[in-house]
């Protein structure tokens, strides 16, 4: 009995065949050959190879396919960012390095996930503190008050609060079974969502309430209660539509962005025009006009991808997310403890919901709410948060692999 794990050399090779030509193309953009651009591409290829091999050697049972999907996503993100502004790409790359460290730290921490429960109240307090901190100290960008300026760097606390939210949720949902004992948790969720709505960070509010419903249903399997939750979410959304003018504007803009093209609808219209001018095949890297799209480097990066790479690659990106999600769910199903399973499931659900909310917003499927595209968008807090979630998924995958290997070795088998 042997489990022979497949090699991923071909995927890494294809990654190289994507990154190097892309940077090679960008190096010719200004009419003369720019060696630095090609060097940047080389650094990215080297980094991906190094990271993959380092992770594989230090953690034997890491889920390599989740890592490879994430690697492709951030490589594509870095190519687009480099095309927009090399300086942004450099900053993003530094954040990626820090993110990798955070991922490894998380993978080590998750070994002791049993002890997370003891800190549950601390986590809850910290989540609320992070969310409330922007109310007092926050700076307003793009309509939402969700940034804190620390002088040398600005952070987005809601990105980290949402991870703590998953940790808190997983604890409550595994330790409580009576409906009454869920009340503190429900109250906590409601406060989180309300704080975000007040801060006008509607994307994060939608993300947290959506993740709550998915995790609640997955953990308890109570269909009617979940439907009731969906109803409350809908009611809350309607109430905030009536109460807050910024929510109303979003919906009106979504219904007809063309009529308010000059102010509210500008972003959506530019995004749609970018996607339309790209068409199926795109206009070619560096040949589009992303300068006209607001927040092109973070929230609206999908529109830039759609314009220059085309809808086909846009769909491939979505399928990469799907591969990521499917692998995440398989890891969750395989987890040895319910707590770990819910942690992984929560992270997977949150990442998938996040990509759905922003891609859906860009293509005008749902009202646009500002949120980053996991791994692809520019943003230090965003990439760090995505990497920590990847770390949680990988950490549990390592645990599963170890348990499988132990069971296999007992029967005299081995895992290669």
């Amino acid at each position: 009995m042997t489990i022979k794990r497949k090699g991923a050399t071909s995927i890494l090779f294809l990654q190289l065949l994507f990154i190097l030509p892309a940077f090679g193309l960008l190096s010719l953009r200004d009419g003369k050959f720019d060696i630095m651009t090609l060097v940047a591409g080389g650094v990215l290829v080297f980094y991906n190879l190094f990271q993959y091999n380092m992770m594989k050697v230090s953690f034997k049972h890491i889920d390599r396919f989740v890592l490879l999907a994430a690697q492709f996503l951030w490589s594509l993100g870095l190519v687009v960012l480099y095309r927009l502004d090399p300086e942004l790409a450099l900053k993003q790359f530094v954040c990626l390095l820090i993110g990798t460290l955070a991922m490894i730290v998380m993978m080590v921490l998750i070994r002791r996930s049993r002890d997370f429960g003891r800190l549950n109240w601390v986590f809850m307090g910290l989540t609320l503190l992070l969310l409330a901190s922007t109310l007092v100290l926050g700076r307003t960008t793009g309509g939402a008050k969700n940034w804190i300026d620390l002088g040398f760097i600005s952070v987005q606390p809601s990105e980290f609060a949402k991870i703590l939210f998953i940790v808190v949720s997983a604890y409550f949902l595994t330790t409580r079974d009576k409906l009454v004992s869920f009340i503190p948790y429900m109250f906590f969720t409601a406060v989180c969502v309300m704080l975000l709505v007040v801060e006008k960070d509607l994307g994060a509010a939608l993300l947290i309430s959506g993740t709550f419903l998915i995790m609640f249903y997955a953990a308890t399997g109570r269909t009617w209660l979940t439907l009731l939750g969906v109803g409350i979410l809908g009611g809350g959304a309607f109430a905030s539509y009536k109460l807050f003018s910024h929510v109303r504007t979003r919906v009106e803009v979504w219904q007809d962005p063309w009529s308010v093209y000059q102010d509210g609808g500008y972003q959506i219209v530019q995004g749609l025009m970018a996607l339309a001018s790209g068409g199926l095949l795109g206009v070619g890297l560096g040949r589009g006009m992303p300068e006209v799209i607001p927040v092109r480097s973070s929230d609206y990066i999908f529109a830039v991808i759609g314009e220059e790479f085309g809808i086909i690659i846009g769909i491939f990106v979505i399928i990469f997310y799907l591969v990521f999600i499917v692998r995440g769910i398989l890891i969750a199903l395989d987890a040895r403890s319910t707590y770990d399973a819910l942690l992984v499931f929560g992270c997977t659900a949150m990442l998938s919901l996040q990509s759905f909310i922003i891609i859906g917003g860009v293509i005008k499927l749902i009202p646009l709410t500002g949120i980053t595209m996991p791994f692809v968008s520019y943003g230090g807090s965003s990439i760090l948060a995505s990497m920590i979630q990847l770390g949680i998924i990988e950490g549990v995958a390592v645990k599963n692999g170890k348990a499988d290997e132990a069971a296999l070795e007992m029967m005299g088998g081995e895992m290669r």
Binding site: M1, L14, P21, L28, I312
Partner: protein, 157 residues
């Protein structure tokens, strides 16, 4: 002039990117799927075992071999047996090892030469981890997995 070249190259490269990213996606899906299936098949097989026999005495070529015990096993030297011990001293249908209500029983068949901890067994006996059983000239030590872990598999079966 060079700008025109760039435009042309960039226009042509679109197909390359689609091809490479599509191939990458396809490889990722196919490789991860085949690995997942293989792993699931092997782990499913391992999960069926409630313990194992490790051969500690007998012919050299079978010495040290680990044979998984399932819920119901026929011990014998024919290929149709569940626990195949290829040794002339072992009968075709030598014994049964079954688990009933959490107890693992060794049932000698047709008065074959079966011993538990050195004593000849003629009736069904419960066996435990650490016991030595022998079939003909083959001696094996028994390992039974702790019960708690096994309950989910019982439900599925």
């Amino acid at each position: 002039m060079s700008s025109e070249i760039y435009q042309t190259v960039a226009f042509g490269m679109r197909y390359w990117f689609i091809l490479i990213i599509g191939l990458m996606l396809l490889t990722l899906i196919l490789v991860s799927r085949s690995e997942y299936r293989e792993r699931k098949a092997v782990m499913g097989e391992v999960g069926q075992y409630i313990g194992y026999l490790e051969i500690i005495g007998g012919a050299d070529d079978v010495l040290g071999e680990r044979i998984g015990i399932m819920k119901e096993n026929l011990v014998g030297n024919s290929r149709s047996a569940d626990i195949v011990i290829a040794d002339p001293s072992v009968h075709k249908n030598h014994a049964m090892i079954n688990r009933k209500k959490g107890r693992v029983m060794l049932i000698p068949l047709n008065g074959s030469d079966t011993k538990i901890n050195g004593r000849k067994a003629t009736h069904p006996h419960e066996i435990f981890t650490g016991d030595t059983v022998s079939f003909g000239e083959i001696e094996a030590s028994v390992y039974i997995k702790p019960q708690e872990e096994e309950e989910p598999h019982d439900d599925q079966a």
